[in-house]
Every structure is written in structure tokens, then in C-alpha cells.
Chain length 354, copies 2
Amino acid sequence: MSNTETNRDSDRRIAILASGRLDAFTAKTAAGVIRYRHDEVVGVIDPDHAGQDLATLIGVGKGIPIVASLGELATHRPDMLLIGVATPGGALPEAWRPVLREAIEQQMEVVNGLHTFLADDPTLSDLAAEHGARLVDVRRPPEVTGVGMARARDVPSRIVLTVGSDCNVGKKIAAIEIARELARRGRDAIFLPTGQTGVMITGRGIAIDRIISDFVSGAVEQMILDHAEHAWLIVEGQGGLFHPSYSGVTLSLMHGACPSAMVLCHQPSRQCLRHTDLPIPPLGRLVELHEAIMQPVRSSKVVGVALNCVDASDEETTDAVQASHATLGLPVTDVIRHGAGPLVDALEAHFDAS
Amino acid sequence: MSNTETNRDSDRRIAILASGRLDAFTAKTAAGVIRYRHDEVVGVIDPDHAGQDLATLIGVGKGIPIVASLGELATHRPDMLLIGVATPGGALPEAWRPVLREAIEQQMEVVNGLHTFLADDPTLSDLAAEHGARLVDVRRPPEVTGVGMARARDVPSRIVLTVGSDCNVGKKIAAIEIARELARRGRDAIFLPTGQTGVMITGRGIAIDRIISDFVSGAVEQMILDHAEHAWLIVEGQGGLFHPSYSGVTLSLMHGACPSAMVLCHQPSRQCLRHTDLPIPPLGRLVELHEAIMQPVRSSKVVGVALNCVDASDEETTDAVQASHATLGLPVTDVIRHGAGPLVDALEAHFDAS
């Protein structure tokens, strides 16, 4: 892909650390980075899966080798080690310290999305200082002490937010694909990440789940104001408005970003909210409630639906798209299979009319 | 008042620090503590208002002196200095350091609800260690690393949450008065605070606005589970579901506490959400949306309305109560003027029927 939408400073040679955890679920960060920075990734480190086919394991990464150690990637001269998997409670496994030390000693930049910060580890930070290596903790919250005041309403940009029927249904990918499609059409569109994977993909944005709750909407608002020079701001959604774990983060993001348009993301195979026995409400009800809860802050419409059919056949996907369209009367697409075109058509029509 | 609902260990002799900020708005914490710990408060320190009548300034505190310095309260032998006002950004004003040092040197307990923590200040914490004084930062978040999973649904207690049309409309007072009325009727009811003032009043609960956003619902859920031995849990609401600054905290609280019943709090004179130009939606719409956003997690009803008529005459209050009742068909009361009886009647009927 081009770097138009991601605005990274320069291309890197990235080794992704994923020891023992290469599956589509815990390697969500790895998969996201590989999907959008494929040409920069020189290899994935996981002794348990060395030699296996990456695309088979996590759905993306065709041709990228899985190796047992950082040393095996030496001929590629990697300059960034990126932690690409989640760990229980966000802790740093002791078993990872040798490879982290090795990377630091080779002056590689180490990029970490865990809740545990590398720069707060005295051993690692001393070593990094000694070797002039950079430690980047993407979840470290920005210094925000202001609350949101719906100032994003005053920005002339067209603000779009992806929202979801649940967490982990494709809000990030939908936002990126919408931004890319807009860029293809010559629009000045920028993707604004709000989670660690998006930050790792683009090098900008904030991981909002780590911010003190009182300041989440303020941090999102500041991010919007900071990018107001762009015509289109496509903001990555988080969590889900009805998920008992994440609903507060979702609502802070909605009221902080003040989108005039939302795109609802959903995985048709999902019946219950993730890790719970709570049924996901019908899509029509979700559209209605997302609009209702935005209304007092800013009038906002759900203009289309992005279905995540990663676990469905092509035929099932076409059926699901048609069924949702028939129920809702909105444009519906699987952005990976069919592209974001229908959503961008709807977004352009929405903003042109308003 | 009796300590039945507050369960404090013992009575204290409290000096409240409110320098330069004695008005009903910024002295919200002072007012809350004075309302419910009146007999323990020996004086309020504010050189700008020394000698004036406290009740005139903040609506409560008849007979409590306002003095210019801690020294003037010496004959009362105060053993607690409580910071009773908010500051811009929650910072600690430099001008307060002398009185804090004085209190610490007198081995007083210093209770602080600011976002800035006294115990993290090396000078003050060293001084406290030297003199054996206790520094209590009530906003310091609990060590929570678990997300909410709607486990509060499994608790047999009758869970009630006060919610609001806006922030600062009387959710804390409504919750306390409901708990007190239940106690008067012989019920085993406990008030669970979620903000610094409530924590200062009772010595339990958590200031949820200071918690990392991902963990707010989990922290609330844990608080519910920790008090499940009580028949009634009356949870203090926070923020407002449509206030762009605080809505995320509010929703985390709703989905963390999983109330089966809610009481909607409102100040009839309030037209716009605080500090904004955003109109407050009509009460009927607020009832509908609070119930709708709880529904996917737990079926919950708004069973009554608590009007805060602090700025209205008795006649205006009666009119406002009757008007809201006529519009909504729900019990409505001003808990300060008319008591929480109608709300408790409605709550008992609601739970008896379910």
C-alpha cells in the first residue's frame, strides 16, 4: 500500500515478536500491522510456529517467514522490533526479556502495545539508554487534563466514526479502508487510530482505553482538533455501546469525536457480546440507539454498515450483505471482500447534502 | 444524623480548607461533607470569607464558623483537614502549602479529593512520615485490572442507581436520602459512593472518574460484589449520559452496577448541559434512553424522579414536582424539601413486583 493515508515518516524493516501466541485472536496486533505494513515486515518471531505458513495461522502475511529467533532475521537488518500479541493482563512475559535485550543491543526501536510499559522497566530502559535504542510504549496515555466539551463540532472537517455491534468486529479495518477509498478518489482523508494496533500501523493517534476515564472524551477531542486541517477525519471506533466491559470508552469516544456520520460494523456470525451471554441487539435497534445517544451532542446518522465476514464463504457473505441491506435500507459491504466503495458513496452523499 | 448509613469508624473533628473558593459551585465537596457530617465539622478555613455566614454562601453549615487560618480553630483540636473545594484542573495551589504543612505538623489526617495526590508530593509525604500524619488521597484509583462483565446481575441485592439529566444535579444526595429512608423503614440499605465527596462522607466507595477508562465498569462491579451482603445497594450516579465531558464515566457506571431500578435526578432551572450550550433533552426522552441503553445488559426501569429545587421557592418546587409527575406519570419529589418517601415507595413496589 502507499503511505498516503498512514503518513509514516519512512519505511522500516520490522520484526514482529509473537512468541507462542500466533493465532488470529491473540495476534490481532500482528495481523493488523501485517495487513497494512506488509512490505515492511521482514519476519515474525515465534519458536512454536517457526517454519509454518503465516497466512494460514492468522489470515494475512503471505510470504512473510516465521522464525525461531531474532538472529535468523539478521540478513534483513531489522530496525524495529514490534510486540504483536496480547498477553494475559497485559504483562510482559519474562521469557521475552532475552529477545528484547538483543533488539536493544542492536539499537533497534522496540514498539510495545502492552499495558506494561518498557520504558518503566529500569533494566530495559538503562540498556536502551546505553545503546541509544528507542523504546516506544504506544499505550502510554497523553498528558491530558482537560475534559471534552464537544469542541469537535466546530471543526470544518467531515468527521466519520466507525461504531460496532460488539468489540473486535472490524471497526479499525473499516475506518482504514474508508480512508483509503477516499484517498483513491482524491479526497484529503486521514485515518485517526484510537487503539494500539492503529497507532502501530500509522505512528499517530492514541490508545484511549488507557486514559483516565474523566479525560477520554477530552483526549479524543484534542486529537480531532489537532487534525482539523484535513477535509475528512475517519476515526477508529472502540468497544461497543452495549458491551459491559467497554461501553464507557465507546461513549466517551462518540461524544469526544462528535461525528456527523457513523458506520456500523458487525460480524454476522456473532450472536452474543464477546465473552458474555448477552445477545447482541438487532442491527436496526443499534442504528437507532447510536443515533439517539449522539443526538443531544451532535446530530449524527449511521450511513452504512460494514460486515466482517472473515469466517463466512463468499456466498454466505453476499447473502448477509443483501439481508442487512434489505432490513436496514442502508448501504452494506464487506470492506475486505467487496471494498469500501458503497460506504464512501453514502458518506459523500451524506456530507454533500448537509 | 446517625452513622447507620455511613458506617464511619468514629467521629472526627474536621477543619475544611476552602480558601478563596467558598461558593456553592466550587465548594461542592465542602457542602456535601457539611450536610452529612455537620456535627463533626469544627470550622471552614477561607481568609476571603472569614466571619461571613456559611449557610448563606453554600446553603448548608448553619453555625459553623468561617475562619482565616487553621490556628483560629485550635481550641476545637481539629484532627482532620479536609480539602473541600475543586481547583482548576485539580491542581494543588501553592498558596495552600503552608496550611497543609501546619496540619501535618499537628499530626492531623489530611483528606484530599483533588486529582493531584498529596502522597506523591515528596515534600508533603516526607513531612507526613516525619510527624506520623496520614495523607488520604480519595481519588487514588483502586488496583483494578479486570474489566466489567455484568457480574453484578448475579448479586441478590436490590441495586438502585441514581442517574441525572446533567452533572451536579443532586445524584449523590438523592442516593443518600433514599438509603436513609430505607434504613428508617428498617431495611438493610447501604449507600455506595462513586465520587470523592461521597467517599469523604462515608469513608468507603471509589472515585470512579480517576480510574483508567477500560477498568471503570470492572471497579464498579467489584464494589457491588463487595457489598452483596446488603439487601439494598443504593449507588451514587456520576456525570450524565449526554454530557460530552462525562458520558463515558456514566455509562461505565450504569453497565458496571447493573441496577434493576434507576432514579432520574434533575434540576428544573437547568436548561443546558453544564458549561455547554447543549439543551438538556426532555425528561421523558431521558427516561426512555436510560432504560434503552441498560436493556441489552440488564432490564432496568426509571421508577421515579428526584428534583433538585435548591434555587426555587417552595411554591415553584411544588409546581415543578406536579408538572413532572403529570408529564411522566412517575413519582416525583424534592428529597431535601419533601423527603425520599415517594421514591422509596416506588422502589419497594418495583422490587416486590419483580
